[in-house]
Subunit: 447 residues, 2 copies
Amino acid sequence: MNHEKLNQLLLDKDYVVLKNELKNTQPVDIAQYLNELNSKQTLLVFRLLPKELAADAFSHLSVKKQAELVELVQDTELEAILDDLFFDDKIDLLEEMPANVVKKILKNTSSVERNLINQFLMYPEYSAGSLMTIEFVDLKKEMLVEDALNKIRRIGLDKETIYTCYVMDAERHLEGTITLKDLVLSPVDKKVGDIMQKDPLYVNTHDNQEYVADMFKKYDLLALPVVDNEKRLVGIITIDDIVDVIEEENTEDIYKMAAVQPTDEEYINAGVITLASKRIIWLIVLMISATFTGYIIRYFESTLQSVVALAAFIPMLMDTGGNAGSQACTLVIRSLVLGEISFRDIFKVLWKEIRISLLVGTVLSLLNFVRIYFIEGYPLNITFTVSITLVFAVIIAKMIGGTLPIIAKKLKLDPAIMAGPIITTIVDALTLMIYFFFATRILLVNA
Amino acid sequence: MNHEKLNQLLLDKDYVVLKNELKNTQPVDIAQYLNELNSKQTLLVFRLLPKELAADAFSHLSVKKQAELVELVQDTELEAILDDLFFDDKIDLLEEMPANVVKKILKNTSSVERNLINQFLMYPEYSAGSLMTIEFVDLKKEMLVEDALNKIRRIGLDKETIYTCYVMDAERHLEGTITLKDLVLSPVDKKVGDIMQKDPLYVNTHDNQEYVADMFKKYDLLALPVVDNEKRLVGIITIDDIVDVIEEENTEDIYKMAAVQPTDEEYINAGVITLASKRIIWLIVLMISATFTGYIIRYFESTLQSVVALAAFIPMLMDTGGNAGSQACTLVIRSLVLGEISFRDIFKVLWKEIRISLLVGTVLSLLNFVRIYFIEGYPLNITFTVSITLVFAVIIAKMIGGTLPIIAKKLKLDPAIMAGPIITTIVDALTLMIYFFFATRILLVNA
C-alpha cells in the first residue's frame, strides 16, 4: 500500500477517492497507515472506513493508537466497533488499555457480556482459556444438515470460526465436531449426529499455550475446542492465534538461550529500565560464577609465573571450549523443544557428542599445533600442552553441552536456560583445570 | 492412544476389534504406532485401515517406514494410496525416497501427473513453488453461487483446500478469491464475480518461504494462491505447511546463533560426520579469531609479569563482556526477524543500549568492587582497574551487540550469524585492550 498516495488524498481533502482506496486495502495495512497519523487525521480516516473494515483495522492498531482512538470516538461509534470485534480481541484490548479507557469500553458493553469478560480475564496468562474466543457455531445431534446450514447462515460468523462446528448436548458437553465441508457435501436430510466426528480432540481451559500449540502442529488443526473441568464447551482456539503463540514461544526460548529473562514487550517499545532489569540478574549470576575461573588461575599463579606464555592461550582455549559446548547445547535444546528427543535418549546423545567431539577436537588441535609450533615457533612442550588441552576441552564441552539440557528437562527446569552463557561459564572453568593439569605435568616436570 | 492395547489385539489376532480401534484414531497417532512395528506387522495393520485413513496415515510415517511400505505393497494398493495422497505430500515423498522406490511410485502414476511431478520437482528448495499443492477449487466469474457449490460438492476436496476458492479467467489468470463461507451465506442465484474478493493477496512460485510465512502471519491467512511469472494460478499454499516453515525458520536462526550451519535433518537422526561438518567451520573461524586475544596478552606480557594477579580477572571480564554483548545482539536479531525494527532504527537502538549498559555496567561494577576490595582484600589500584574495565567492557559490548546485526542485515548478510560466538570473540579482544589500557595507566604509573 502506498502511504504517500493516501497522504496526498488526505491533504487534498479528496475523501471520496480516499474512501474508495481504503475499501480495497487489507485491514492490517490500514492499521499500519493509521499508526502513522496524528489524532485528528486518525479520527478522520477511521470514520471513512466501511463498518466491517473498521473493527478489523482497529484490532490491528498499536496499543497506543487503540487507546487514543477509544478516547476520541463517540459512545455510539465505540459501541459499533466493540460489536464487530471478536471476543478474544476484545479481551486482549481490555488487558492492555489504561484504566480510563477500560471504563469507557465497559460502559459500552452489555451486562451479560461484562460478566463473560470478567470470567475470561480471570484465565491465567498463557493458558488455553486466555487464547480462546466464544465465536463458534454450536449444533445439536438431532439437527438435520439443512437446519445446521440454516443456523450457520443465520449466525454468519467470520472465517475460520465457521469451518468447524461443535455439537453439544443440553448441558453443553462437547459431543462431536463437524466441518462445514462435511455439511456442504452431505445430503440435506441427514442427521448431524450421524456424520459428526465423535471423540474430537480438545483442550482444557487451564492447559498451557505451548501444549495447545503442539496439538495444532501435530494434528494440522485449524481450530480446537476448549472445555472446562466438567467437559463443557466454553470456547474455541483458532490457528491464527496459535501462529502468534509459536512465535512467542520461540522468542522466549531464544531470549533464555541468551540469558535474558523473557518479556512480552517488543524490544523497540520496551523501556530502558525494563530491558536492563531483564538482563542484570543473569549477568550477576554469570559474573559471580566466572570468578571461579579466577580462583583457578590464582591457584596456579606460580605455574603461570614460571611460564607466562601460557596466559596467551587462555582466551583461545576458553572461547573454543565455550563455543563447542554451546553448539551441542543449542542443538539438543531445539531437539527437546521440537519433541524429537526425550530423557531416554540421553546416552544416545552422549555417544553421538563423544564421537563428534573426537572428530572436531582432533581437527582443531592439529590446526592449532601447526600454527603454534611451525608458524609462531613456540617450544614443543607448550605447543603440546595447548593442543592436548584443546582436544579434551572440546570433548568435555560437548558432553556437558549435550546432556545438561536433557537433565534440566528431567528436573522440570527449562532446558533453554542451560544454553550459551551457562554452558560457557561451566566449560571455561573445566577448560582451565584441564589446561593447568597438563601444564603442571608437561611443563614443570621438565623445568 | 494406547500402543499396548493395540499390540495385544495384534497378538490375539483380534483384527475386527483392532480395525475398529484404528478407525477412531487420528492418522498422526496411527503413523506413530506403525513406525514402531516390524515389516510384517506394518503391512498387516496398514491393510486394516479404511481407505480414507490409509493415505493420511501414510503421509505422516517416517521416511524409512514409507520406503519400506512402498516396497511391500502390491501395485494396486500403491496406486490407491497415491490416488488419495495430496499432491504436495506426493512431491515430498518423491524427494525423499531412494531411487528404486521412486521408480515403483512413478510406474503407478499417470503420464499427465508424471509431467506435473517433474515440473514441481524443479522448483527451488524453500520456494513458494516447493510448498504449494494443486488441490484447490477453481471457479469462473460468470458462475452462479449454486453452480459453484455444486462444483465444490462434485470435486469434494479436503479441509482447508476447500475453504477458499479461486476465480480464474480462460487463460488461468487469477482474478479473485471467494470463501466457502461467502458462498454458503450468499443467495444461490448471485454471480461469483459479484461477491468475490478482487485483487487478492498472492505470491510468486519463486518467492522465498520466509516471505510467504510473513504474509500468512501478517494477514492471518488460511491459504494463499501461488502464481507464475504470467500471473497464472499454479497452486495454493495452506497454513499447515506454513506452521512447519515457521518452526524450520526458527530452528535455522537458533542454529546460526550458536554458530552451527543449519541442516534439514533432525539432530537425533543425523550422522556424526554430518553434524561434525556443520560445526567445524565456525569453530575454526572462531578459534583463529580468538588467537588475536592471545596476541594482545603477549603484547602486554611485561605488564602481566609485573602484576600477575591481573591474569585472574581475565576470564571474568571476558565472560561478562561476552554475555552482555550477546544479550543485546540476540534481542536485536529477534526484533529484526519479527520485523519490529529496521536499519533506520540503528541510532535508536544504539542510544537504548548505551543507557542500558550504563545502568547494568554500573551495578555489576559496584558489586565487583565490593567483592574484590572488601571481601577478597585486593589492593585499591587493582580493584579500580578491574571495576572501571567492567563498566567500559559492558558499554562497548552492548553497543556492538546492538548495532552489528542491523549493519549485517543492511549488507544483505543474515543477522543471526552475528550472535553469540561472533560477538563474544569481538568483545573478548576489546575487553582485553580496555583492561590493559587501564592497567598500564593505573598500575604501572604508581609501580
